[in-house]
Symmetry: C2
Subunit: 384 residues, 2 copies
């Protein structure tokens, strides 16, 4: 059945049947949606395309969050302000900060843009790794920064020594972007090294620490930079509901920083953000303790399938501390991406200069099996 019309055409009956099947006062529309064809988990689209290209959560929006969105529809015609206000104390408690340390954005990417705008100045060094997440690069495009790209080290962690040298030339203001764990490599930059620099840096060095994949990081060398924010107004931590909570389509992220720092950032925010439905989904997601555990469990299982396939093929890969990994591709990357697309599988985009590698996002374990099957066929055909 065409998904676009399934609600009006037949879903009402389906939901009703699902609900009577569930029975009892605890039954919900949102849970019943799970029983409707096309509402299952995974990254396989209606046309069969497997989307392993965007670091999304294969579990999608959690049932509790779907329910909260449906409930919040009653307020959808109203400006967000008072309806999103309860998000502040709830996130504050969840993360362990004060409400005055929180700034919400339309995805963590809005926070990245705000920071890039708020700290710009002619010739101010903007120091970032190569490769890393591209949005900061895009946002500085029309501004007058002095862009400094620093290649990752051999272990694909950030080269903090080189970045620090560039930041400390003349002790002028500088903005340092550190994505940890790093996208697209999935690797961790050790907290010990970063903490040492932050502890010694002048306040004119702004540390923009992007922790979009924070919840996935299990390496003991990793730690959040969050503990700095009240002591150091020049440290901003950025996180998101897009990944661990499967909310990429709803656009909700946040920055965590000293209140004085947020005052500066707030001059560059958009009015009336975040949207009401994203806020409702986020509040329900934080209340449901099972969501994070499930997301992490599925991610581990999918990563294991991916590791086994790559081991079998003898293809090198980087240790993953996120919901994706990067692995070697013998031959041309563009050709590989095109061939996977011909198999109905979308894999990661190029991240120069790592043209000998491909980023693969984790789907469900069985979806990684499908990808592994394509890899095996490529091997048989001498393509990899």
């Amino acid at each position: 059945m065409d998904r676009r019309g399934f609600l009006s055409a037949g879903m009402a009956a389906g939901v009703a049947a699902g609900m009577s099947g569930l029975g009892g006062a605890g039954a919900s529309v949102a849970a019943a949606l799970e029983r409707i064809p096309g509402w299952g988990r995974g990254k396989t689209m209606a046309d069969g395309t497997l989307r392993l290209s965007s670091n999304e959560n294969p579990l999608g929006l959690a049932p509790a969050a779907r329910e909260a969105v449906i409930e919040a529809l009653i307020h959808a015609g109203r400006y967000p302000g008072e309806f999103t206000a309860p998000l502040y104390p709830q996130l504050a408690e969840y993360v362990g900060v004060g409400e005055e340390n929180i700034l919400f954005g339309a995805g963590s990417t809005e926070i990245l843009q705000i920071i890039v705008q708020a700290y710009q100045g002619p010739g101010v060094p903007l120091i970032m790794a190569e490769p890393t997440f591209e949005d900061v690069l895009r946002y500085q495009g029309p501004l007058s920064y002095h862009l400094q790209m620093v290649p990752l080290k051999a272990d694909h962690s950030h080269d903090l020594v080189r970045m620090r040298e560039l930041a400390e030339v003349g002790r002028r203001p500088a903005v340092v972007y550190i994505c940890n764990p790093n996208n697209p490599t999935g690797t961790v930059t050790p907290a010990r090294e970063l903490d040492e620099w932050i502890a010694e840096a002048p306040e004119s060095t702004l540390f923009l620490v992007d922790e979009a994949y924070h919840e996935y990081a299990e390496d003991p060398a990793y730690a959040s930079a969050l503990h700095w924010i009240n002591e150091k107004p020049n440290v901003i931590v950025v996180r998101t509901f897009s990944k661990i909570f499967g909310m990429a389509g709803l656009r909700l992220g946040y920055g965590l920083a000293h209140p004085d720092t947020l005052d500066r950032l707030r001059l560059f925010t958009i009015s009336n953000n975040p949207n009401i439905l994203a806020a409702a989904a986020a509040m329900a997601s934080m209340e449901d303790e099972a969501i994070m555990a499930q997301s992490l469990q599925v991610n581990r299982e999918a990563r294991d399938v991916t590791h086994r396939a790559l081991d079998e093929m003898g293809l090198e890969y980087l240790p993953s501390h996120a919901n994706f990994l990067m692995h070697r591709i013998p031959g041309d990357l563009g050709e590989y991406i095109g061939r996977m697309r011909a198999e109905g599988i979308r894999v990661g985009r190029p991240f120069p200069p790592m043209t000998g590698w491909n980023r693969i996002s984790f789907g469900l374990p069985e979806e990684m099996d499908r990808w592994a099957g394509a890899l095996r066929r490529f091997r048989t055909m001498g393509r990899i």
Copy 2:
């Protein structure tokens, strides 16, 4: 019943009952929601507060749009790109422009911010009326414009003659913000006057025409500036789904301009906007031809109730070409706002220098009766 828990606690049964009552293939979850207590129309909140303060649509999100949001929940975990792509051709056809003329934002306010950022420069005049919608004023705060506030004329239309004088000093670049119909006055600036200026202006004068209330304007003197966009890259029209489509909580607006102009603006956009649920609601709203007619009809009825009450009280008001109006308040505005709040009614905020006036947003006709009742009590008590 507490709304927060009504879905999980009892709504499933309620929806099921509603649906079996509706029966047939055309029944939908979204329509059934209308039957659940608390899902009715209007601006009266769960605690009884009547919210006539934010120019929202009292009909809220239309049933067809609610249904589309529920359907789109399946994609809520994915990044918007391909799921929001169909919005472009649909809006293009709806508005009568090309897809290349459209830029979406998180509300029209994001488009306002982008324009203010993209055309900034040291000492560039930013010329706007006083009072007008405040977001442009907020967004230029941290930038280096030369702000020029021009009082409205006696008829509360924009003083285009004075604005033009300021724009043409030295024929340097200038940004002109024109909100038409104007918020908070609800008045129209005649298209004939604006067209004359646009026709003769140098390309260095950027016209930012905010038409958030476009659909409500019935004055024959009003016309959109949209017809200029392909001939004049220095004309940008901004509109929104927040008002006529009751989508304020979902955050979706758009700019309409020459493709070259949008290329310049796109450097300042946020990645991955708009959110998937707003896009789904917008597409369904444009498909449903009844929504706009219903919104306009309810607005006219509420305006009539408002006019009658103000006539009865002998309180002057401005002609309204929007979903609100401005009327005289004898005495102190802050005191009036506070007294209305004590009655459980929120009215508009102060818009200096019009401190002798209050802006009232239209609710349902019966909600305007409640407001009129409070006015009458104030009169009896000698307060107005």
